[in-house]
Symmetry: C2
Subunit: 110 residues, 2 copies
DNA sequence: AATAGCGCTATCTTTTTGGATACTACAATA
DNA sequence: TATTGTAGTATCCAAAAAGATAGCGCTATT
């Protein structure tokens, strides 16, 4: 055995948690796992988020290649947000977060 | 069908991410997945964390039942931090975070 | 023409987070 | 006895995150 190596590389944990962390990013991604959505649709979905924060977080996620912003300009203006391939690849992870939360929230989160 | 329910309960995502989020909590938990550790051992492991922050985060994790703080006072003073059952149950999740990070960091995190 | 909805932006303030730095009490070691 | 290590605390401060509130240009509806 003699395992002197670090079992888990903390750096990856830190980086990924920064990517999906904060108050809103995980929730936004989870909401987009469901289906692509428009700005105000997301806003309603997330409840108490302010438009300023939603804009900022969506931009962050776009820059980090997890979300796509598309303008469907056919007469009326409509913006659609959806997940990139990378974003979609987070779905099992987010699913597992949800499952863990459902199992443990009563005991851990009070 | 008429499924008006939210497919993924965002609230769980938000709560769990808060629990393991921030700059340090995930990394602390990951480090303790490896094995139980002492205060300064953790500090060295985490590199640039300040003692103030480490204390605070460990307290938070203790309050939220993910970490146990034990004092082994046998002549010399020694404090050991380890994971509770709930904390240990996060291991697969943290493992998946690491795996995702390793797969996607080059493309997403630059 | 007025109103409502969309997709934001702008400004200001509060809250949260976490770093810097110094210091402490105690014990073991040299 | 001086130094080193352990396990923290105490203060202060800067930066980041996020809320409150208002408003804007555009379109569709009534």
């Amino acid at each position: 055995m003699m395992n002197k190596q670090k079992h888990i590389p903390n750096r990856d944990v830190q980086d990924v948690i920064e990517l999906i962390g904060g108050r809103w990013r995980g929730a936004i991604l989870a909401s987009l796992c469901d289906k692509e959505k428009r700005f105000n649709e997301l806003k309603r979905d997330l409840g108490t988020i302010t438009p300023r924060t939603l804009t900022k977080e969506l931009k962050y996620l776009e820059i980090n290649k997890l979300v796509i912003r598309e303008v469907d300009a056919e007469g009326s203006i409509s913006v659609v947000y959806s997940l990139t391939k990378h974003g979609m690849s987070l779905e099992p992870l987010i699913g597992q977060i949800v499952v863990w939360g459902q199992k443990h929230r009563k005991e851990v989160l009070g």
